[in-house]
C-alpha cells in the first residue's frame, strides 16, 4: 500500500482521491469547492485544460450542442408556440432562461467537489424513490403520471432516478470494486435497484424510462466490474423472453399496448390511428427531410401536425429541416461529446470519478440513441428527451449540472503535459 501512496505523491497532485484509501477523515479535510491552484494558472490557451482547469474541448462541445439545440428548439417550437401560447417566442425565452440557470449550475458544479456525492449517493437514490412514489400519488394527465408539478417547473422523477442510479452504482462499485465479481455485490443490488425502479416506472407508465434505467444499471455494473458471465446470462434471458413473446404473438400485442409501438404507418382502427399520430407525423417529418432537408425553418410538420415538436420529437423536425446530412453532423458532435467525456473521465484520479464521469457521459449517448429510435418508431413513444435540444426546464438544468459534475471530474483529470 505504501508504495502506491508514494507513487501518487510523486505525481505531485494536490489532492488524491483513491477509492481504495477512501476514508471519512479525508473527506473532512477536503474543501467543499475545488479551486485551481494559482501556480497552475494557465499561461496560454491549450486544447487540454491544464492542472485544475476544466476540460475545454468538452465544455466547447457542450456549448456548441446547446447553441444548435436552442436554435432548432426555436425553429421547431415557434409555430406550436404561436398557436398554443399566442407567442412564437414563448418556448425560446423560457429555454434561454433555463439555459442561463443551467449554465450557472454547470459552472457551480464544475467547482463542486464531486466526491461529496460519493457519500450522499444512497441518500439521492432514496430521494429518487420518494419522487417516483410521489408522482404515482399525484393526479397525472391523460392517465400518465410522469411529472411532479412545481409551479413553473415540472420535475420528472425518472430524470432524478437516472442520475441517482448512475451515482449510486458509481458509489457502490467504487466502494466494493474488489467484490464486484461476487453476485451479492453486483447482480443482487443491480436487480433490486433496477427491479424496484422499473416497477415504479411501469406504473407511471414510462416504458422508455425502464429501458434507459435498465441500460444504465447494466452499464454501471459492467464498468463497475461485474462478471461478464452474469451480463451474458441476463442478455440471454432477455433475448429468450423477447423470443418467446415474439413466437407466441405476445410481442406485437405488448408493442401495440405500448402506445402503438411499430404501428404508426399501419391503419388498424381509429383509436390506434390517433394514438400513433405523433409517431406517424414524426416519420412524415423525417421522410420529408430527405438527404438535404427542407432548409432551416422550413419544416411543415411543425405546423401542429407533430404535436409538441419542441419536446421529445424535436429531432424529427431537425431532420426535416436539415436533412440526413445535418442530422449526421449533429450526431457526430454528440459522439465527440461522448468520446471526450469518457476519455477525460478515464483520467480521473479515483474510481468513483471515473465511474461517475463515464456513467454521466454515456447516459447522454444512450439517450441520444434511444431518442432517435423512439422518433423513428423503433422504440415505444414514451418520453426520452434529446439532450441539449428538447425543451424542458428541469431536465435541461439537471443535464447541465451533470455536465458540470463531469467538468468537475475533468479538473482532476488534467495533467499538465510537459
Amino acid at each position: 500500500m505504501a508504495p502506491r501512496k508514494k507513487m501518487i505523491l510523486k505525481a505531485d497532485i494536490n489532492r488524491i482521491y483513491d477509492d481504495e484509501y477512501y476514508s471519512e477523515q479525508k473527506i473532512k479535510q477536503e474543501k467543499f469547492f475545488v479551486r485551481p491552484s494559482r501556480q497552475r494558472k494557465m499561461k496560454k490557451t491549450k486544447w487540454f485544460s491544464i492542472g485544475m482547469g476544466i476540460d475545454l474541448p468538452f465544455c466547447i462541445i457542450i456549448l456548441i450542442l446547446l447553441t444548435i439545440g436552442t436554435i432548432m428548439m426555436f425553429s421547431a417550437s415557434y409555430a406550436f408556440s404561436y398557436y398554443t401560447q399566442g407567442d412564437s417566442y414563448y418556448y425560446l425565452i423560457r429555454q434561454l432562461i433555463f439555459i442561463v440557470i443551467g449554465l450557472l449550475g454547470m459552472l457551480v458544479m464544475s467547482f463542486f467537489n464531486y466526491n461529496k456525492f460519493h457519500r450522499i449517493a444512497p441518500v439521492i437514490l432514496g430521494v429518487a424513490y420518494v419522487s417516483l412514489l410521489l408522482v404515482l400519488v399525484l393526479p397525472g394527465t391523460n392517465g400518465v403520471k410522469r411529472w411532479i408539478p412545481l409551479g413553473i417547473f415540472n420535475i420528472q422523477p425518472s430524470e432524478i432516478a437516472k442520475f441517482a442510479i448512475i451515482l449510486f452504482f458509481a458509489h457502490w462499485a467504487s466502494k466494493y470494486y474488489n467484490k464486484m465479481q461476487i453476485v451479492r455485490y453486483s447482480v443482487v443490488p443491480g436487480v433490486i435497484v433496477f427491479g424496484t425502479t422499473a416497477i415504479l416506472l411501469f406504473l407511471e407508465p414510462h416504458y422508455s424510462g425502464i429501458v434507459i434505467i435498465g441500460i444504465l444499471t447494466v452499464l454501471m455494473l459492467y464498468i463497475g466490474g461485474m462478471k461478464t458471465k452474469y451480463l451474458a446470462i441476463g442478455f440471454v434471458l432477455l433475448v429468450a423472453i423477447v423470443g418467446i413473446l415474439a413466437v407466441t404473438g405476445g410481442l406485437s400485442y405488448a408493442m401495440s399496448r405500448m402506445d402503438g409501438w411499430g404501428q404508426a404507418l399501419v391503419y388498424t382502427d381509429e383509436e390506434m390511428w390517433q394514438t400513433t399520430w405523433q409517431t406517424r407525423n414524426s416519420l412524415y417529418a423525417i421522410g420529408s427531410g430527405g438527404l438535404w432537408g427542407l432548409g432551416l425553418g422550413q419544416s411543415r410538420q411543425k405546423y401542429l401536425y407533430l404535436p409538441e415538436p419542441q419536446n421529445d420529437f424535436i429531432f424529427a423536425i431537425v431532420v426535416e429541416e436539415l436533412g440526413l446530412i445535418g442530422a449526421a453532423m449533429i450526431l457526430l458532435i454528440f459522439a465527440l461529446l461522448v468520446w471526450r467525456g469518457i476519455t477525460l473521465s478515464l483520467r480521473a484520479k479515483d474510481k468513483f470519478g471515473k465511474l461517475l464521469g463515464i456513467g454521466l457521459t454515456s447516459q447522454i449517448g444512450i439517450q441520444v440513441v434511444l431518442n432517435i429510435l423512439v422518433i423513428t418508431d423503433w422504440l415505444p413513444n414514451t418520453g426520452i428527451s434529446l439532450p441539449f435540444f428538447s425543451y424542458g426546464g428541469s431536465s435541461l438544468i439537471m443535464l447541465l449540472m451533470q455536465m458540470g459534475i463531469v467538468l468537475s471530474i475533468s479538473r482532476t483529470a488534467n495533467i499538465e503535459r510537459q
Binding site: 398557436y83 416519420l283 423525417i286 420529408s288 422550413q298 401536425y305 449526421a328
Partner: protein, 755 residues
C-alpha cells in the same frame, strides 16, 4: 488487490494503468457499443427513413398538409336569338364540413344539431357525416342567402361555444335559373345537382357551358388554417361559355301558346310538336314540345300523373315515376318518329316533278280506291276524286293519284330521293337523343310498300327530318343541317364559335322548288283555313293525317291518328317553314286540316308580322284588312268627316255640337277598311247605345252587312275567305255598346277535309 496489467518497467505507469486495466477495456467496449452500434443504428435508421422511405413518407406528409379546395366555375348563360336570357347561373353557396377537426361527441352533436335545423336535413344523417375522418364532406349544396347568413352565424356560435368553427365552411356554388320556366323546356334542358347538363342544349353543350372549375391548393396546418408561409397555388375557375340559340323567344312563346291551346281544344293524348325553321339557313326559330315542363322544377310531374303514380303499388312507384319523368323530358320533335302521312306528298310530288315524270297536264284518275299487287288501297274520299290533273291531285291529297305518281317515279328513284331529302340519316341537329327513321331495308320494299310510302304511310321519320325536307322543297332544293345554337361566346363576350349554315346537298332543282311553292300556295289559297291559309301572306302547306298503325288504341276513334301540318311562308320567297303535329287527338276531330292547320294559321298570323314578312293582300282580302282609325277629335264636324273619308272610313255624326269631342273607335284602334267611325259632338250623344246582334253562323259578307246596319265595326279573325263561316264573336249577343265599337269575329272553315 488485483493487478491484471502486464508488468511495466515504470512503477508509476504500472500504478496508473494496472488497477484500471479492466475499466479501460470495458470502457472501450462501451464506446464501441454506444458510438458504433448505437449511433450507427440511429444513423442507419434515419438514412433508411430519409433516403429509402423518404419519398413515400413525404407524399403522405404533403397529402395531409395540402388542402385542395375546388372553386366552382360559373356555368355559361343561354340566350335566345335576341339576347334574352333563357338560362343563367346565380351565386349560391354550399355547406361543407371537415369532421376530422371535431374532437368529441359534444362537438359532433352540436354541429349535427345546428346544420340539420338550418338546412332542414335529417339529424341522424348529418350526425353520421360528422363521424367521418375527412376534411371535405358536402352537407348541402345550393343554399341561398338566407340559409347562408344563418350558417355564418352558426359558425360563429360553434367557434365561441364549442371551439370548432373550422369544421363548417361555406363555399361558392352556383344555381341554375330558368327565367322563362317552361319555355322551350325540351330544347334548353336542365342541369343536375353537380351543375352538369342533363337534357337538351344544357347536355349537348355541357363542355362549353360548364367551364373549368378552379382549385386552391394551400398548405394548411393540422387544424386547417393556412400556414404562415407562401405555399399556395391558385388555379382560377374558368367560367363557362355563353350560348346563343337560334330560338327566338317571341316566336317560341307564340308557338307554345297556340300549341297548348291545340292540345286542350283537341284533347290530344300524346303531346304535340311544333318546329319553326328558317328555310334558308336551317336555324330553328322555335321548337315546341307540349306539354313541356318547368325547367326550374324538372322533377315534378303534372299533378294528375303524380296522382296516378301514387295510386300504384309501392314497389312500382319509383319505376313508374322515372319512366314518366323521362317521357316528360323527351324532346318529341327529334326523339320520336311518326308516319308523315299526306305531308310527305310534297316530297313525292317534288321527286316526280324533278324527274320529269309529271307535268301540269298529267292526269290521274281516282275511283276511290286503287289496286296494287292484288291489294286494294282506299282513298280518303271513298266516292273518288275522278280525273284530276297534278295540281288538283295535290290539292285533293288523293292517295290513288299519289300511288300512280309513286309508280311513275319508281322504287329506286323513290328510295334515292328519300335519302336525298335526308330521311335516311339523322339531321345532325345539335340536340341530344335524335332518333333514326324506320324505312324498308334495301331490297325488301314491295310494290305495295312503295304505293303506301308514296302518300307517307308505313315508314316513320322524325318531325325534324320532315321540316328539314319541307325546307328543302321550299328553298330551292337545299337540304340543310338544322341547328339550335347560333353562336358561342366566352365569358368576356369574344365569339369562339359561330355556326354557319350547313348545306348537305341539293335534292331538287330551283325550278322544281319554285313549282312546288306555287302548287302548295295554290293548295292553301283554294282550300282556305283547312290548308293553312293566312290572310295577307302567300302560304304554302300540306296537311297530313296518319294512322298510328300498331299503336294501342288510346283515342275515341277506331284508330289513333297523328294530325299534322307542314307549311312555309311566304310561298314566293320562303323564309319560315313550320311543322305542327298532334299525336293522338281525341276531341272529335283528328284530321290535320281540322286539328293542326288552324294552329298553323294562328301561329303564322302572329309570327309572320313579327318576322316583318311583307304582306301581300289580294283585293278580296283587302276588304277584311284592319287599319288604324285616325284622330278626328277637336276638328270641326265637316273637317272630321272629310278626314275620315280620306282615310277610307264612313262616318256617322252624333249630337248637335260643332266640334268632334270624341270618336268611336278611338285613335289607332284597328277597324276594317271602310269601317264606320262615329263622331260625337256633345256629351248627350255619347249615352246612346246599340245592342250587339248575333254574328255567328254567317259568311264574312253577311257579318259585314249586319254590322253596318247596327253601326258597329267588325274585325275579322281567323281565315277570312269566301268559304268560311263565323264561329265566335268577342262581345256577346245582347250586350249594350256604343255605336262604332269594334267586335272581333272569328271565322273557321266549314268545307270538307282533303286528306
Amino acid at each position: 488487490m488485483e493487478n491484471n496489467g502486464r508488468p511495466r518497467n515504470s512503477a508509476r505507469k504500472r500504478a496508473a494503468k494496472g488497477p484500471n486495466q479492466r475499466l479501460r477495456q470495458r470502457t472501450a467496449i462501451l464506446i464501441i457499443l454506444i458510438l458504433l452500434i448505437g449511433f450507427g443504428a440511429a444513423i442507419t435508421r434515419l438514412a433508411y427513413l430519409t433516403l429509402i422511405q423518404g419519398n413515400a413518407l413525404q407524399e403522405d406528409a404533403v397529402d395531409q398538409q395540402l388542402k385542395d379546395t375546388t372553386i366552382s366555375a360559373k356555368r355559361g348563360t343561354i340566350y335566345d336569338a335576341n339576347g334574352k336570357v333563357l338560362a343563367e347561373s346565380a351565386s349560391v353557396w354550399q355547406v361543407v364540413m371537415a369532421p376530422a377537426y371535431l374532437k368529441d361527441d359534444k362537438q359532433r352533436k352540436a354541429v349535427a344539431q345546428g346544420l340539420s335545423e338550418i338546412l332542414e336535413l335529417d339529424y341522424d344523417n348529418v350526425y353520421e357525416k360528422t363521424q367521418q375522418n375527412s376534411y371535405y364532406v358536402v352537407v348541402k349544396r345550393k343554399i341561398e342567402t338566407e340559409a347562408r347568413d344563418k350558417i355564418l352565424k352558426f359558425i360563429d356560435t360553434l367557434q365561441k361555444d364549442y371551439d370548432c368553427g373550422n369544421a363548417v365552411e361555406l363555399l361558392d356554388d352556383y344555381k341554375r335559373y330558368y327565367p322563362q320556366d317552361d319555355l322551350a323546356s325540351c330544347v334548353i334542358g336542365f342541369t343536375g345537382s353537380d351543375d352538369q347538363g342533363l337534357e337538351g342544349v344544357e347536355y349537348k353543350y355541357d363542355e362549353y357551358l360548364a367551364g373549368t372549375p378552379g382549385r386552391i391548393i394551400t398548405a394548411k396546418n393540422a387544424t386547417g388554417t393556412d400556414m404562415p408561409f407562401q405555399y399556395e397555388q391558385n388555379v382560377d375557375a374558368e367560367n363557362g361559355n355563353n350560348i346563343y340559340l337560334t330560338i327566338d323567344e317571341t316566336v317560341q312563346s307564340i308557338c307554345e301558346k297556340y300549341m297548348k291551346q291545340g292540345i286542350v281544344d283537341n284533347n290530344v293524348l300524346n303531346r304535340g310538336v311544333c318546329i319553326a325553321m328558317d328555310v334558308n339557313t336551317g336555324a330553328i326559330l322555335a321548337m315546341v314540345t307540349v306539354d313541356g315542363y318547368n325547367l326550374n322544377d324538372p322533377y315534378t310531374l303534372p299533378k294528375e300523373q303524380q296522382k296516378k303514380i301514387d295510386a300504384l303499388p309501392k314497389d312500382k312507384q319509383s319505376a313508374a315515376e322515372s319512366e314518366a319523368l323521362s317521357a316528360m323530358w323527351r324532346n318529341k320533335a327529334i326523339t320520336d318518329t311518326y308516319m308523315p302521312g299526306s305531308v310527305f306528298k310534297m316530297c313525292t310530288a317534288s321527286m316526280a316533278l324533278e324527274e320529269g315524270k309529271v307535268n301540269d297536264s298529267s292526269t290521274f284518275v281516282c275511283g276511290g280506291s286503287f289496286v296494287v299487287s292484288d291489294k286494294t288501297i282506299h282513298c280518303h274520299a271513298l266516292q273518288g276524286h275522278g280525273t284530276q290533273n297534278f295540281v288538283q291531285a295535290i290539292c285533293n291529297s288523293c292517295n290513288p293519284a299519289f300511288i300512280q305518281i309513286g309508280q311513275l317515279v319508281g322504287m329506286n328513284k323513290f328510295c334515292q330521293y328519300y335519302q336525298g331529302f335526308g330521311f335516311a340519316d339523322k339531321t345532325g341537329i345539335d340536340l341530344p337523343g335524335e332518333a333514326e327513321d324506320s324505312f324498308w331495308k334495301e331490297g325488301t320494299m314491295t310494290d305495295v310498300d312503295l304505293a303506301v310510302a308514296s302518300f307517307g304511310q308505313n315508314f316513320s321519320i322524325t318531325p325534324i327530318q320532315m321540316v328539314t325536307a319541307c325546307s328543302a322543297v321550299a328553298n330551292g332544293g337545299y337540304v340543310l343541317q338544322p341547328y339550335v345554337v347560333s353562336k358561342i361566346t366566352d365569358s368576356d363576350g369574344n365569339v369562339i364559335k359561330n355556326v354557319e349554315k350547313n348545306i348537305k346537298r341539293q335534292v331538287i332543282s330551283k325550278e322544281t322548288s319554285d313549282k312546288m311553292n306555287e302548287i302548295l300556295a295554290y293548295n292553301t289559297a283554294t282550300a282556305g283555313s283547312t290548308a293553312g291559309y293566312v290572310a295577307g301572306y302567300k302560304v304554302a302547306g300540306k296537311t297530313g293525317t296518319s294512322e298510328k298503325i300498331g299503336s294501342k288504341v288510346q283515342s275515341v276513334f277506331s284508330e289513333d291518328y297523328i294530325a299534322s301540318f307542314c307549311g312555309y311562308a311566304p310561298a314566293d320567297d320562303p323564309q319560315i317553314a313550320m311543322l305542327i303535329f298532334f299525336d293522338t287527338p281525341s276531341g272529335g276531330a283528328y284530321y290535320g286540316s281540322q286539328v293542326s292547320a288552324p294552329v298553323f294559321i294562328n301561329i303564322m298570323t302572329e309570327v309572320l308580322p313579327y318576322l316583318e314578312v311583307k304582306t301581300e293582300y289580294t283585293d278580296s282580302e283587302l276588304e277584311y284588312v284592319d287599319v288604324s282609325a285616325g284622330d278626328y277629335v277637336g276638328l270641326s264636324v265637316s273637317e272630321a268627316e272629310s278626314a275620315a273619308q280620306n282615310d277610307g272610313f264612313t262616318t256617322t255624326v252624333k249630337g248637335e255640337g260643332d266640334k268632334v269631342i270624341s270618336q268611336i273607335p278611338s285613335v289607332s284602334s284597328k277597324i276594317p277598311t271602310g269601317g264606320n267611325i262615329v263622331l260625337y259632338t256633345d256629351d248627350n250623344s255619347k249615352s246612346e247605345t246599340v245592342t250587339v246582334p248575333n254574328l255567328i253562323g254567317y259568311s264574312a259578307s253577311e257579318v259585314n252587312s249586319v254590322a253596318s246596319e247596327y253601326g258597329l265595326n267588325i274585325s275579322f279573325a281567323g281565315a277570312a275567305s269566301s268559304d268560311v263561316i263565323s264561329s265566335a264573336q268577342d262581345i256577346a249577343e245582347g250586350t249594350s255598346v256604343s255605336p262604332g265599337t269594334v267586335i272581333t269575329v272569328t271565322f273557321s272553315s266549314a268545307s270538307t277535309f282533303n286528306d
